[in-house]
Symmetry: C2
Subunit: 199 residues, 2 copies
């Protein structure tokens, strides 16, 4: 699928972001060198600065790339009128497949965001917490609809869902054989029904 009118710069810029994501994911922000990133995309170290103003700027772009359509996807799910059980399955599927598709970038956001410059950090933090808030609102609606127990702490629940997604996301990055669909089903089942044997 050839991009229409994709000037070389755009292509290379994207390649640079991806290379940076990959190297940051493997070595961590501080452990990664600009030389390594450049090599990963087949150019020399100094040429990288044609695309990034600084190493830190590269980190910012990688994180943004990782989060990009992440929140939007959740909002799309959240705005459907499916029963909650179906929604939560969709949430896990989206979360996990985001990890698979942009796995390095999302991992980098989770692991290295502490090293972002203050300014970018708050911007991204806001994006991240928008995600949590959306999830929280979704849970609250499910409570009113009677799909979710009334005594659930929605704030806690939203954090837990994100935590589970991220934990599996990490494992997915390292083990490409994991079946995302199956995993999402198990997560959703766990969350809705618990492990306990119904008396």
């Amino acid at each position: 699928m050839p991009q229409t009118a994709a000037p070389r710069y755009e292509q290379q810029k994207l390649a640079a972001v991806r290379a940076a994501a990959s190297v940051f994911a493997e070595h961590g922000y501080h452990g990664a060198s600009t030389t390594l990133i450049a090599e990963a995309m087949g150019i020399k170290q100094a040429s990288l600065y044609y695309y990034f103003k600084s190493k830190q700027a590269a980190l910012v772009e990688v994180c943004l790339y990782g989060l990009e359509d992440y929140v939007e996807r959740l909002q799309a799910i959240s705005s459907t009128s499916q029963p909650f059980a179906a929604q939560i399955l969709a949430v896990f599927s989206a979360h996990l497949s985001a990890y698979r598709e942009r796995n390095e970038a999302l991992k980098v956001y989770n692991d290295e965001r502490l090293y972002l410059p203050e300014e970018a950090r708050t911007e991204l933090k806001e994006l991240g917490s928008r995600y949590r808030q959306e999830l929280e609102a979704m849970l609250e609606r499910a409570v009113t609809a009677g799909d979710v127990r009334a005594d659930i702490d929605c704030h806690f629940a939203a954090q837990a869902i994100i935590g589970i997604g991220n934990a599996w996301g990490d494992l997915i990055v390292r083990d490409p054989d994991l079946d995302i669909i199956l995993l999402a089903q198990k997560c959703a089942d766990m969350l809705m029904n618990g492990f306990g044997n119904r008396a």
Copy 2:
């Protein structure tokens, strides 16, 4: 509480491990400098090498310190004959309070273990997976006892439990006001009963 016969060396060594844990936790392994670690314990950079052969050796010691009684605690819980619901609550409590007590070291183990030397890495990995296996065995016993649904994938479940614990552990480190007991209860409740409204 004065340690009986605690020679200066032992004290300082422990201080060094803790300082390293703290600095690694804040800056990451590669982002941390030996100067910073030394300063954190009030000595000069070169003096640190009296206690650590190398920076990497410090990482190893921090990780070991973080995991130390972690597995043992789980085994203690696992060997009781409490009902599973009580056990799982104890597991979460132990997991979360370990994070609070040795928070930096455990966080370092989770975040930075990738940068361990191969040899130490496998040793620690084994410790870590002993934890998961123990949890898995516990779940299997609970299935036989009828406390847990028979159709649960115990391997998945064990990973999920660890993932949830670590996710909250991370948040605990950053927010010291979180109530661990309450959190553990919510986690256990979520796991056993799920969020779904029982028809």
